[in-house]
Every structure is written in C-alpha cells, then in structure tokens.
C-alpha cells in the first residue's frame, strides 16, 4: 500500500506528457551548404531543427547556374558540336551517357543513321560511364554515413575506367567522343582487351565494395527504413532512375523504351520493395553488375566496319524538333533540340535533368529525421549540382 501511494504521489508531482510538450523549446535553423562536406557540390539546405530532429528543410539551388543550355545555342559554326562541350559538363559524372542522348537527338533531327560498330561502342562506353558514376555514388554515400574507406576503393576502380576513356577519347572525364552519325575516331586496337581487363577487375572490386559496408550492421541501421519514398508519391514527383526503381516500379528507359540497341542485350532491372536509402544503394550496386553483363555481351558481338554514318560535313538539320530520352546513371535524361533549318547551331536546347527532378523528393525524405539522416538521404538521391542548376 505504501508503495502504491508513493507511486501515486510521484505520478502527481511528475510533469504529465502534455505539460512536457508545453515546455518551451526554440527551433534552430542551420545552414548546410553551399560549402559543406556532404552536400555534393554547391547545394544549400536550410534545416529547421528541433533538437536533433529536422522539422523543415528548404533547399536552395542555383549556385552553379552557368548557362549550359544557352551556351549550347550560340555557336555560329559547328554549333552542334560546340554544344557538347557544355553538355558534357552538366552532369559531369555521366558525360558519355549524356553525349549519347545528345547525338541521338541530333541524328533524329537530321535523319542520320549510325553504323553498328558505333552503336556497340557507345553502349560499352556508356555502361562504363554508369559504373563510373555509381562508383562515385558508392564512395560519397559511404563518406556521408561516416566511412572514409569506400571512397578510396571506388576511386581505385574509377581511375581504371578513366584511363580507358583517356585511351579512347583522349580525356579522363570529358572525352567529347561521340559525333552525330557515329564516333570521332575508332577505338584503339586493344580496346576489347582493355575493357575485358576492367570488367574482370570490377568483378572483384564489387565484392570488395560489398565486404566493406554492404552488410555492415552500422551501415544497415543508418540507411534502412530511412528516406522512404512510396511509389505514388515518387510518380507524382516525376522521380526517375534508381529512386523510382527502389519503390518497386521497374521503370528503366533502356527497357521500357529501348533506344540505340539496348533491346539486343539481356539484363535485369533491379527493383526494391520499400524505397528506402538502403535499397537505392543496393540497386546501384546491382546496376553496376548488370552493366558489366551488358558490356560482356556487347564485347562479344562487337562488329567491325565503319564508325561514321552518312553525316554531312557541315551539319545543318532541317527545320524541326527532336526529343530523346535515355537512362542516365541518375534517371531519365532527356535532350530536346529545335532546329530552325538555317543555322548550324540548335535554335533551342533543353535538357531534362533527372537530378533536378529527383531533388524534389528531398523534403519527403528528410523531414522528421535526424540531421545525420538528412545527410544520408541527400546522398542517396545522388545529385550532381551541375545538372540541377545547369
């Protein structure tokens, strides 16, 4: 009895739950970015915090707005070729994939056919670019969640791929290698062996990636169930790429609207079930493996022959417009070109950048989580600010 009364007494004196809620707390606003180690460039988040909890997030973009589209319209001579300089640098991690979209749009506009060999080489290099980009994601995501070593592992593989790009196109990041109608020049004679060497090594490298953090309990607890984006919301936002596939929808432009020669290859589209950060991570890991499958098939079937189609020397497409979409390493990348039929530069260039659209889902993912989670969730979107701001 005495104990019971004591407990009752304590209950009466202790502040009730509702009273506790009424305690005055001050919200804190912190400014993350534009220069912050884990905003992946010059993105700025203004987080409203309640303790460690994020109550609201306001994103600011435009710190890298440098007119990629406008500069693409401005060449008096060789304008279609000049536009690729700025296009490469919009999404600087998947430059060759974007070049592919651009040259396909120009080919559609001007009615140029592409020889088989060029198509195969484009596929191989494009998939290597995808691996390259996902490696960067792997490293950055590891760093966001606090592990520093993944970055090093990822870049050890990236260096090999960049070395191949240098051998093929002459530059490590922006080879500027595709041309409307084909390629700038043929691949070096040991291309096949070198690609084979890279994918052999990548196989081991992916296992190392997995060993390092994929099954790590801390990593799991940090990423699972975080930043869940359900399918309807994702579709409402127009999200694409691994973010959308993590919600369970197997939407991949390479499959749903096969462009180039993607319909000839067997590959799987990984999909998730819950749409959390961990599944986005797993999907990107699996996509790297699938890319290797595609590369292997393409290498096996790589035909000989010319690398340039019927492209005219001076490109002046007839009046018209063309829109081409591809599966970028971040999602559905589109290029819209308008030609006025007179000049040698596009009249209008518009890029549909997946990052910009995907970034809208940030608020859905971040609000209600902790600061540390905000960083991880942002990392799982895998933004490239060059593409967001263009």
């Amino acid at each position: 009895m005495a104990i019971a009364s004591a407990i009752n007494m304590l209950r009466e004196t202790a502040p009730s739950v509702s009273e506790e809620r009424n305690l005055e707390t001050v919200e804190m606003t912190i400014n993350m970015g534009p220069q912050h180690p884990s905003t992946h460039g010059v993105f700025r988040m203004v987080l409203t915090l309640e303790g460690e909890r994020v109550k609201n997030v306001q994103s600011h973009i435009g710190y890298l707005h440098r007119g990629a589209e406008k500069l693409g319209e401005s060449g008096e001579i060789e304008g279609y070729r000049k536009a690729m300089i700025t296009l490469d640098r919009t999404d600087y991690l998947s430059s060759l994939l974007n070049e592919h979209a651009y040259v396909m749009a120009v080919e559609k506009l001007a009615g140029i056919s592409v020889p088989e060999r060029a198509e195969y080489i484009r596929i191989i290099l494009g998939e290597l670019t995808r691996i390259n980009s996902h490696c960067m994601f792997y490293g950055a995501f590891g760093a966001d969640s606090g592990a520093t070593t993944p970055y090093m592992y990822a870049f050890a593989l990236r260096e090999e791929i960049q070395q191949l790009f240098e051998a093929v196109g002459g530059a490590r990041m922006f080879p500027n290698y595709y041309r409307a109608g084909g390629l700038r020049e043929d691949v070096p004679h040991d291309f096949v062996h070198r690609v084979q060497a890279i994918i052999d090594r990548a196989f081991y490298a992916f296992d190392d990636f997995d060993n390092l953090i994929t099954a790590n309990e801390i990593f799991l607890s940090r990423t699972r169930g975080l930043g869940i984006l359900d399918q309807t919301r994702a579709l409402d936002l127009g999200v694409s790429g691994p973010l959308l596939r993590a919600t369970g929808l197997p939407y991949d432009v390479r499959r749903s609207e096969p462009y180039s020669i993607y319909d000839r290859f067997a590959f799987d589209v990984p999909v998730g079930t819950t749409g959390d950060c961990y599944e986005r991570y797993l999907i990107r890991q699996e996509e790297m493996r699938q890319s290797i499958r595609i590369i292997e098939q393409a290498l096996k079937d790589l035909p000989g022959g010319p690398i340039m189609g019927n492209a005219p020397k001076a490109l002046r497409p007839p009046k018209g417009e063309a829109y081409v979409r591809i599966e970028n390493s971040r999602g559905d990348f589109g290029v819209y070109l308008v030609s006025d039929g007179k000049s040698s530069a596009p009249y209008r260039v518009k890029y549909r950048s997946p990052c910009f659209v995907n970034l809208q889902s940030l608020n859905d993912m971040v609000i209600g989580t902790y600061i540390a989670d905000a960083v991880v969730a942002l990392g799982s979107i895998d933004i490239v600010l060059g593409e967001v701001d263009r």
Partner: protein, 412 residues
Amino acid sequence: MSNNAASELTLQAVPSWMPAFLVAPMIGGLSLADLIALVVLLLFVLIFVMIEIWMERKVAGHIQLRRGPLHVGPHGSLQSPADVLKLLTKEDLTPVAADRIVFPMAPYLVFVPVFLTFLVIPWGPLVLFGNFVVRPFDLGLVYMVAIPAMQGIGLVMAGWSSGNKYSLLGSARVVAQLISYELPMVIALLGVAMMAESLNLTTIVESQMKQGWNVFLQPIGFLVFFLATMSEMSRAPFDIAVAESEIVGGPFVEYSGMRWGIFYLAEFAAVCLNSALSTALFLGGWELFPGSRALGLGWISDQFGLLFFMGKMIVLVLIIQWARFVLPRLRIDQLMDFAWKFLLPAAFVNFILTAILQVFGFVPFAIGIGLTLALAAVLLATYQARRSPSTVALMRTSPESVPTSKGVGLPV
C-alpha cells in the same frame, strides 16, 4: 603508496639507488623526482601523440590502398613535426561571435584532464628504475574515472563559446554521449576493483599477475570498457560529436591554429590514455603473457615490463585506429541505444558474474559465462531472424539469362 602490496613481487615505486633529495617531499608533498617525472611524462605524451598521428595516417593510407605521408622526411616521419610547427605559426582567430573569455580557455580544459590522468598509470618496471608511475595513488580507479570526465566541460565550453550552431550541436552531442557512456564504464570497472580488492592501479596489475588477466576473467567487462572509452574519446564509429560529414568538426569548428592543435593533441592523447588504461586494467599491465610468473619467467616482466606495456598499448591504439577507417558512424539515437540497451546491461552482467567468481569460485562463474553467451546467441539469432531479407529483386525482362562470368570468347 603501493609498496605494501608490491613488496613480494620485488617491485618498488622508487628505486633504492635514488638519492634522498630527489624523493624527499617538498612543497605540497611533491618531490623533485615528481617534477622531473611530470616533465618527462609531458614530453612523452607530446612525442607519442606525434608518432601516433603519423602511425594513424600510415595505417589509413595502407588500408585505403595508398601510401600515406611519404615525402616529408623519410616515409613521412617528419610529417607530424611539420604539422605542429605549422599550427604553432598559424594565426589564432577568435570569431566575432565567440565568447572572449571562455573561447580561449576551452582547449586547455580539454587537454589538462587527459594529461592529469596519465599520472596514475602504472607503466611498469624498467631495469634499474623500478616501477614507473608518477603518483601511485590508492584511489587511482576513482581518479581515472573522475578526472577525464572534466573533458566534457571543456568540450561544452568550446562548443558554446564558439558562437556557431554546428559547434553548439556538437557540444550537445558530447554531453549526451559522455553521460551515457560513463555509466557502463564505471560499472565495468567495479568488476575490476572487485577482482583486485583494491582501487590502486598498480595493485590491480599485480593482482592480475596472480589471478590471471582480467580480459579472460571478465571478457564482457573488457569489451564494455573498451567500447565505452572509445565512445568517450569520440573515435569512430562513435564520433558523432565531431562528425565531419554532418556537423563539420563539432565543437572545434571555429578553432584555428594551435588552439585547435591542442584539441587534436587531446584527442590523440586520449587514445593513448585509454589504451594504457585498458592495458593496465584488463591486459595484465606489464606482464609478458598470462602465467609467465608460474613458468618462472616473471623476471622478464620485472626487468623489461615497460616495453611490454607499451607494446600492448600500441596494439590497442592500432585497433582503435583501424576501426576508424572501417566503420560508418552511428546516429545519435543509435549511440544512446547502444549505451543504455546493450552496454549497461552487459556491464551489470559482468558485475554479477565477477561477484559469482569471487564468492562461489570458478565453476559457477564458468556456467554463468556459458549461460550469458547462450542468451546472447539466442538474442542475436532472433534479431537476425526479425530482420527482413535485404535484397533487391531482379526483374528479369529478358527470357534468356546470360551468365555474368568472365572468360567469354572475344573477337578482336
């Protein structure tokens, strides 16, 4: 003084050849030898920290497939002195928003407690010098829990006085972390004190030589203590207080130059300190290997014990550094969960098991350990089973599946 317990092991805190004027207490009980020892200890800490930083960068380098410092001195050995010299000549900024009085004070409040704790560490004997310990203090265990806890005040002062929101968040995290991890650490230490029936660190080491190392008698206690100290010094994966990818360095954001250098020094000195404490409390101090005294090899430890102590300490330091480059960082709520839901119960289990060992002997204790491990295994298995399978489905959109293996025939 520890001499009463140590007499039978021929270990003396003060060697017999030392002249009386050196060891005679002067002002406040401090002798000349004490002052010399303090200076030596400070130099040791500074130099060891430099070596430790170099070692960490080398370890990190080789873990990450690279080389680490290489061109500054042979194998980068002059890297840390260069860093220190540079930090010394760096401009000391005090931000406008910072508190003028508290801001410059904080670094010292972080370093001094760490350094003071070094006073009670029994470093072990070396040929002529007897047992190295600056102050063989009877309440050493209490002292070594109480003094480093003052670090937290320094970190809070640093975080608050910087006038930066990141550092404020960092200091809030420090407080939460310190409070949570002090508790399991102290309870783990109770087991140690019970085994040795003393709070004196030298006595604890010597009792381990008789009974066996504590790491074997209370493995749970060792684990709890090691993890708790790792958390207290904010090392990965418990480094939420300084998380670079979230709050850009926590309480130290606004510090520059040598003030920041002192924080850095304190951080690495704490690694050294906690490794030394783990060595003394659990790994048998300066003993070469467990049971060496029974084999008649006790004289090796009695003559060169300092080296073995240092060796064990460096191994622990390496493990701590290794963990930093492997593990991602815990989130704050997970950190709290880990302390309160895992470490604290584990510490209590260790406490009870040690009591069983003391009162009922080894057999019930062994049964208890077995039961605990079985319980832990069951809990782990249920935890694993509760987790949903973590794979992504592969949408096979093509009828034939091409095996993804290497070595397919290739046209050139």
